[in-house]
Symmetry: C2
Subunit: 274 residues, 2 copies
């Protein structure tokens, strides 16, 4: 793929104004070949409608966001999480997404045992993996920024995610989101360690200074401090040649704007700075 054809619109970026089918149509209007719907958007618009929109607009699903959230305070709840991830696999197949992104989950309520939570994540992915392999959906473990360790994901570095992949084996890999990993002094080495076969996704945005909200103040590429071109070069060198998802959570800025303009700016910035 040449560069413009690699950009994917992660539909979190436009979620305030656009639902799933609207986002897919918007991506197509901007000339994009890819989009990544979220499961809440599928729940709202309907799985068949999302699949049809993708097909009608000639847009492919770069991933399904998201599975995960494995740790829980009881075995029954952990099983319920695994069952929910099984349904996500079926949804991924229904929209021809090759990848299910896993935000693995943080500490169970009341727990301070992060090692225990990490073990629950490993057990949960291990339980899901045979079905994922059988269905041909790769599981992309997304390490989240350490500031989310307690409440969103207890896998917090690329190295830690790859250690997990080493133990779990084929069918697992990683999603590299610059927002979560840009600070990591070991990033280049871990991207090379992952290699093309385990690099299942590449998400872009920017880290703003100051960051006004821990969750919903991500920046547009070029507006922050992440050396996107450098990380992109490492991904290229490691052999990643798949879609590149723009994923911006921005309650006060980008979510407030006209989504068509947001997508146009994202496309321009992608070509200029990534």
């Amino acid at each position: 793929m040449d560069d413009p054809n690699r950009l994917s619109l992660n539909l979190a970026t436009t979620r305030m104004r656009w639902g799933g089918t609207e986002g897919i149509a918007g991506a197509a209007r901007a000339g994009l070949r890819w989009a990544a719907p979220w499961r809440d958007q599928i729940a709202k618009d309907g799985l068949a409608e999302i699949a049809r929109a993708l097909n009608d607009h000639g847009v492919a699903a770069s991933s399904l966001c998201r599975g995960g959230m494995f740790p829980a305070e009881s075995a029954a709840k952990r099983q319920a999480a695994i069952d929910d991830n099984r349904r996500a696999l079926d949804q991924a197949r229904a929209i021809d997404a090759q990848v299910l992104v896993l935000v693995v989950g943080g500490l169970p309520p009341g727990s301070k045992d992060i090692a225990g939570a990490r073990a629950m994540v490993e057990d949960g992915i291990a339980a899901l993996l045979p079905e994922a392999r059988a269905k041909g959906v790769a599981l992309a473990i997304e390490p989240l920024h350490p500031m989310y360790a307690a409440d969103r994901a207890c896998i917090n570095t690329l190295g830690q995610a790859l250690d997990l992949c080493d133990r779990l084996g084929p069918g697992t890999g990683v999603a590299v989101d610059v927002y979560h990993v840009w600070w990591d002094p070991d990033l280049e080495r871990q991207i090379m360690r992952a290699g093309a076969a385990r690099l299942l996704g590449f998400h872009i945005c920017d880290w703003l200074v100051p960051t006004r909200d821990m969750l919903l103040d991500r920046g547009m590429m070029g507006d922050g401090v992440i050396d996107l071109a450098r990380i992109r070069r490492w991904m290229d060198q490691a052999g990643y040649d798949g879609p590149i998802e723009v994923e911006i959570f921005s309650a006060e800025n980008w979510w407030q704007r006209d989504p068509d303009q947001v997508v146009a700016i994202a496309k321009q910035r992608f070509l200029e700075v990534v």
Copy 2:
């Protein structure tokens, strides 16, 4: 030292209501043997007055907070930072602090080159080190949480800080602040790697869920999700037997309360949960 005698009041904890000398007096009233003043408090109250307060109250300085902030956009500004750190060494000596805590600094204005910033940190500490050794003040590199990588400190894990210590040699070590490192899957191993000789400080507070402000919403020990007893055990096993500083930045909660009560609660929690 038995446990109650190891607690130190980092004077950031009471900075809204108490200046430096007031904080030292407050620590003494609570029966503490240690306090850690900040340089802005020294600038305000006077170095001789802080030294006298420590002496009068029988309180020892567990550290001086803080040096660092080495990266800058010009050689002249980087030299100015080193010169400022030299003054901090003199201040540390004047109050008999054995340790200068280094918050190393983030990206220079306009820069996206975090590797370059890290090199500036290493150069800055290397330039400071001969004088620090001569004056008998140990330099404690404090890895800061990755959410501060851009604007406060580009050294973000204990392993990274120890790599730096390995290269810089004697006279350098680390300050382990639970707030910054609790999430690190490699934490136990890196504490053991540091060893007693390089463990120069141990700072405690807690990580709240949710965290409402990236800088000023730290929790009191026991109110968050950090397994303080586990980290304390690792520090014990590694041979750390120095002061343990409670350091809580909490604009909306602890900084608003009666500081005498805050110190009393910190002391109680220290004995109960750390």
